[in-house]
């Protein structure tokens, strides 16, 4: 019996997101199995870590804090790449996904990204007082709505859903990458990313919708892992994926609210 079933299946589909042995395992006999409660606990722990470092970078403003934040963000990026891998078009997996590293990398990611979240939140809060509380509340309302829709079976993710969402997410990533290169070369940013007119707000709404739909895939990984008795480390992996999407959703909601307020 092939242990590389996920690779077989998604390898043929050409989807680079899952085209690896990332999810290739169910718990071996006697090994500890993943539970839904375990994944929930790990998600809460990771979110608490994110809030902790976000609070630090929000409150302490000094050059040394800037250096710590920069190092933290760099560590978070490395942790994310080490766990989820790095895929490059036409080349393949430059770094292969290693979900078994998640118990070590997930706390590093959560703590590191907390610094970025704190810095971004502080910048927005200085411009638009009260915006952070609104964004946090909206993020959890959206997440709870998506969770309800998933648990009750209103949204049923299948392979086509995943492929469409992957294409949309890659579109957003490429837009941000192109913007980064454009910014480094010209010093300006894409109009659509900062515009507070209907075009900019429409783009932000689209990105928020894509981020929210990504939550469904995270819920499905956790649910299926618990259902089929995946190894214990998938709890950390699922929690890390969920926290990653929640942070992305929060930042996008923050940007959307800022655009709406600046009109």
């Amino acid at each position: 019996m092939s242990r590389h079933a996920a690779l077989d299946r998604f390898g043929r589909s050409g989807n680079p997101l899952i085209r690896s042995d990332a999810f290739d395992s169910t718990a071996t006999l006697g090994a500890e199995k993943m539970t839904l409660q375990g994944a929930v606990n790990k998600t809460s722990m990771l979110l608490a870590m994110t809030v902790l470092t976000a609070g630090l970078s929000w409150n302490i403003q000094s050059p040394s804090m800037g250096l710590i934040s920069t190092l933290g963000i760099a560590a978070a990026l490395i942790a994310a790449i080490a766990t989820f891998g790095f895929y490059f078009f036409f080349v393949g997996w430059i770094v292969k996904p290693r979900p078994h590293l998640a118990p070590k990398t997930a706390p590093i990611y959560a703590l590191g990204m907390g610094f970025a979240v704190g810095l971004i939140s502080r910048t927005f809060e200085a411009q638009f007082p009260g915006i952070v509380l609104e964004a946090v509340s909206l993020t959890f309302f959206v997440a709870a709505s998506m969770l309800l829709a998933y648990k009750t079976g209103i949204i049923k993710p299948d392979r086509n859903f995943m492929l469409m969402l992957f294409a949309a997410t890659m579109g957003v990533v490429l837009t941000y990458l192109a913007n980064l290169i454009y910014m480094l070369v010209t010093g300006n940013v894409f109009f659509v990313l900062t515009d507070n007119g209907w075009m900019g707000i429409g783009f932000s709404l689209l990105v928020v919708a894509i981020a929210a739909l990504n939550l469904v895939l995270d819920f499905d990984i956790i649910e299926q892992g618990a259902e089929r008795g995946a190894p214990k480390y998938i709890e950390w992996f699922g929690a890390m994926a969920l926290v990653m999407t929640l942070i992305w959703l929060y930042i996008e909601i923050l940007r959307l609210l800022a655009k709406l307020r600046s009109r």
Binding site: S2, D8, R9, D21, T43, P63, G66, S69, V95
Partner: protein
Amino acid sequence: MFFYLLRFKASAKQTNRDNRIDWLGAGPEVHDSKTPADQSANVDKPAPEVHGLEDRSQDQRARPKAMPSSAPVEASSSRINKWLIAAGVVLVVVVLLSFYENTNS
């Protein structure tokens, strides 16, 4: 509310369906040993640990058969991958340095 909801199992409407995404690779239609993907996957598996002389000779005989068709491609692309990783690291460092400059100013 979010964490409260997260504790509950999904409804049967969600879990009892044929077109679920097979994240863990335990689906019924995935054991096709003829595909190239499966051949390359077999090579990634570590050789079974054997202790007897007879078993070891069997293992050595089996190894050449497991050579994947994609092996030469992987060998040549490893050099490209190193360059891409180096380029990526430089890009990340540049971005982080500019971020650091911005936060300090």
